[in-house]
Amino acid sequence: MKPGPFLQLDRVIHEKVRMGLMSMLAASPELSFTELREGLQLTDGNLTTHIRTLQEAGYVAVTKAYRDNRPLTTCALTPAGRKAFAEYLALLAEIVRQNRGAA
């Protein structure tokens, strides 16, 4: 038997900060570490921890480069991350829809 939509929610994404990160990255081709940190008002350590979790899940790709002799870290959603986020959104919408159907 297929579990209810809530039980199917991706636990990696279903966390406040990681959901914010996935949402920001879904809206842009890529974002720098600074933009993510300022966008979600996180500390460097907190952001690094959550990015690592998403990276380990294969949802986010991190690129380290240099621009004008300065280190630039950028993050972008991988195709798997984009797919997982789309499924996450669909499940949230499904939860809302089920309730409307029951009402």
Binding site: A27, G39, A93
Partner: protein, 208 residues
Amino acid sequence: MDPADALAQLETIRIIMERAALYRRALGPICLCVGGVGVLAGGVGFGLHVENVTAFAALWLGAALAAVALAFFVARRQALGAGEPFWSPPTRRIASALLPPLVAGAALAVPFLLGEDWARRVVWLLPALWMILYGCALQAAGFFMRRGIRLLGWAYAVAGIADLLWWTCPLNQFPSIAQSHLVMGLGFGVGHLVYGAYLQITEHRAET
């Protein structure tokens, strides 16, 4: 999960995505181009003694159109260079935020273009009103850009109000058209050049 929570979650995601989809083109080169047009127009107006009301309005309306066209061209070039679409959702949002105050500013020039007699007496108001409207335009567009643009919007609005108060002060005489060219050249020309130079220096640094 409660359906109300799911709905709130979807709303939060929508807001975060909208905020993240900022306009990302480098604004330094755009500001420098706009500033260059402003300084040139100010120089032409002041140096060539353009002291007719119609010519004043026409010169600055023309300069504004040239600046918009140049900004459009530079932004498009940057987008194509980055392999991204030019007319993206953030660009559309910025254009729609800028449009009402800019159209209002252009419409303000119409009576002066017609060279009505009363227009000569109040032409000194134009630079102040244009600066205030431009400040409003930047302030509105700034919601879809980095924070600095909103501060620039405030700077223009405050400069416009200061200009208005300065010339209406009983101790001062209303400015001549030549002085209005200087105000415009300083405000729109030098102002953009200074801000553009500042952005050129700091834009890359902010990304690291």
